[in-house]
Symmetry: C2
Subunit: 196 residues, 2 copies
């Protein structure tokens, strides 16, 4: 039985991915060096390669973990029988909650995925496009059902998905309103404005 586990919980690789997430978020993928990462983990740069294959693998892990979370939640919401406007609201709320609980991961995926290389790059890119089309589809159904105002669905998707990125600033601001208040405000502004 090999002891691969680190002190508290999770494999050493997970520790490395966590540190990479923090580092990529604050310096950007290109500007964060493996030596920086090694220092953050408390180890020499060469030692990292006992646990990972490459720097890019770290970015892959981050990007697809985020993508999977959103796709999975979207499956769940789409399967539920609730009204389309409610589905849109649920998706928005999930994005907001992810930005509270795992914002470094989400931000890194959103900002640095372009640095993936090609089997992964186009995979991620396709998933991203498909995800947006999916949400646009829900909105268009809602418009057809007259639950939702007659607006351009892809535009609503753009607004929603980018608006939640603003929560990054909230994390660093001093006078924070509570997460719940922020969520309710966002939903109020973005969903109430949509209702027919």
């Amino acid at each position: 039985m090999a002891k691969i586990k680190s002190k508290t919980n999770g494999t050493k690789k997970e520790v490395i991915v966590d540190a990479a997430t923090r580092l990529f978020r604050e310096k950007g993928f290109k500007a964060a060096s493996m030596r920086d990462l090694a220092e953050a983990v408390g180890v020499e740069a060469a030692s990292l390669y006992n646990h990972i294959q490459s720097k890019e693998e770290l970015l892959q892990e981050i990007c697809f973990k985020v993508a999977n979370a959103f796709n999975q939640k979207c499956d769940e919401i789409e399967a539920s029988g609730i009204a389309n406007i409610r589905k849109v609201e649920a998706i928005l709320r999930f994005h907001i909650q992810q930005m509270f609980n795992h914002y470094e991961m989400v931000i890194v995926a959103d900002r640095e995925w372009r640095h993936l290389s090609d089997p992964y790059l186009s995979n991620y890119h396709n998933q991203r496009r498909a995800y947006r089309k999916r949400i646009a589809g829900i909105i268009e159904e809602g418009i057809a059902n007259k639950e939702i105002k007659d607006v351009d669905a892809p535009t609503v998707v753009l607004i929603m998905l980018h608006a939640v990125n603003g929560i990054e600033s909230w994390h660093r601001s001093k006078e924070k309103i509570s997460p719940k208040q922020l969520e309710e405000n966002m939903v109020l502004i973005m969903i109430e404005g949509l209702k027919a």
Copy 2:
């Protein structure tokens, strides 16, 4: 000898800044090398330094050009005597239009300003914070006047300023609605939802 061709009324430095803007947008500041930039301009890397002082100077130029444009427009709007909700709408419309006409510049400034170094970094950072507070102030006045719904003003600012970044995706999408349509949709969704 290859020579930098200057447009009818633009210095060679402006040609370089324009190419840098394009390059920084598509590869990111760190990933874009001076040799990449030189190739885009049609010149050897060393030759660039006859016109600029450093790579960072290019980023400074981009960031502060964008910041100045927004600050200036905000002065103008604030000075006009229109209702607060109208001011917010005017600011939103200006952001949208800037994202249509100069989106590479705006995106680079928004995404890469962290790579500035310190006199410029904190200057930019302060301007950014001040700008957001300014808009939040207008919104709060509007709430006090009962023109605007009782929402958290900083949250509205976050949503608005980040939502317009979605226009970057519009630039690369195939089935584009017209700029005017997009603008009207955005205003409809984001401003109508605010009105008291």
